[in-house]
Amino acid sequence: MTTESRGRIELRDLSLSFPRRGADRLQVLDGVDLSIASGEIVTLIGPNGCGKSSLLRVIAGLLPADAGTASLGDEIITGPDPRVGLVFQEPRLLPWRTVAANVGYPLELAGMAGPERKERVAEALHRVGLIGAESQLPGQLSGGMRQRAALARALVLEPDVLLLDEPFSALDSITRDRFNVELLKLWGRLRTTIVVVTHSIPEAIFLGDRVVVLSSRPGRVVADIPVPLVSPRTLEDLDAAVVTSAARQIRAHLDPEVEPA
């Protein structure tokens, strides 16, 4: 397999529905087509309940699609894969484990020996700037540090793909901006494929090489908007004219009632 295909994600005519008590199945995704190149950052945006998070879970192998295929690299996704790192909306740290033990948890489950694990954990903690908090319990950390630990846990398996489900939505906007800058720096070094689900238009533009807009339920791709900003991006880039125009386009697709200006 070539480097070009390693972190490539292909979604072909993907449909997903959930069973409902005493009603027809709830159609969540309907014919989603999406190609994400290896090393690309794509942000997914859409109205509440449009299936953004479900789409991420299909890529993560946590939800099987009803129809269509999702593939990673050259293989069809059939279940959770160690090449995919997942960061949830909440940190989901094990409250009885220290930060280091939480970050090492995926390696422990994979059966990696102690010394090697320790090394990898230290590296992951270093990447997210969490040095010195190794022996603390999640309850002793701030929300931001907890989410850093969750990010380190997703990075510790050195994945080809990083999936982030509204990872910073619980943080205040200043912390959130800083996180986004750091995430791009991290991406600059690792060049993993990153898919981010977000509610925020500025965040979607700031992080994404492309912003993919989903329709309300059942979710379909209604727009795929490239963001012509060069790396490395800074928060000041958000004032650029291309950003304003991208934002206007996204807004128009999110709310079709409003005609694009």
Binding site: R92, W96, Y105, L109
Partner: protein, 248 residues
């Protein structure tokens, strides 16, 4: 010494003072209510002469075995009840019915079946320990955060890994609540079992002291021993809890 410890001690002193006061004011004879200092000295001579020790040892063995068996079965059952709603719905009514039948009424039957030896007491103690431990384990297993279970799934954790790294640690605080109740009930179960027929044990000694010996201070000294045993075992459980359950 911490102020709470001092308060606890002060409570004990107050209790003894009240006891003494009732004896003095009421003018009760020793065979109705012996004064605390007499009970204390009888406790010392009872242990020193080897009168209490063998009985205490017998009861301790019954309590520990009964607790061990009852708690182990309770944990397994609680896990099944917590994991499968079908199991819970089918089995729960019978568990509750068994628990609602007074152990005091059940003890003679069990003594009849299992004989006057150790086995009968262990069965009775185990039976009484089982229920609170099973319920606490069930509640604990159900309390596992579904988000953490999804995390485990995304990391391809095996059934066994989920149990050991997610379910058990999450359930531990609740389980220890059940074990705390269970250990004190195990003492009750053992004593009740001894009352239903036994040759040795603190429950037997209470009967002997009140009956053939007519040594009421010894009877009280035995009661103090039973209470002390319960407190000591409870503290052991709490100690384990402190080691195993991390503060959230």
């Amino acid at each position: 010494m911490r102020s709470t410890t001092l308060l606890t001690l002060a409570g004990g002193v107050g209790f003894l003072a009240l006891w003494k006061l009732i004896v003095v004011i009421g003018g009760y004879p020793t065979f109705i209510l012996p004064p605390p200092e007499l009970v204390a000295s009888r406790l010392v001579t009872g242990w020193a002469s080897g009168q209490i020790g063998p009985h205490a040892a017998a009861t301790l063995v019954e309590v520990l075995l009964g607790f061990g068996v009852g708690a182990a079965l309770g944990l397994v059952a609680g896990y099944g009840l917590g994991r499968s709603s079908i199991v819970a719905r089918v089995v729960s009514p019978y568990l509750v019915a068994a628990q609602a039948t007074p152990i005091l009424a059940l003890a003679p039957v069990l003594a009849l079946w299992f004989g006057p030896g150790l086995l009968g007491k262990v069965v009775i103690a185990a039976l009484i320990v089982f229920f609170p431990v099973a319920v606490s384990a069930m509640v604990g297993i159900r309390s596992v955060d579904t988000g953490l279970l999804e995390l485990g799934r995304s990391l391809r954790a095996t059934r066994r890994q989920v149990l050991l790294t997610l379910e058990i640690p999450a359930a531990l605080p609740s389980i220890f609540g059940g074990l705390r109740i269970g250990i004190t009930l195990a003492v009750v179960g053992a004593i009740v079992g001894e009352w239903a027929g036994a040759e040795r044990g603190l429950g037997v000694l209470v009967n002997i002291a009140r009956g053939s010996l007519f040594d009421i201070p010894l009877m009280f000294a035995t009661l103090v021993t039973i209470a002390g045993l319960g407190v000591a075992l409870y503290l052991v459980v709490v100690l384990f809890e402190r080691r195993l359950v991390r503060v959230r």
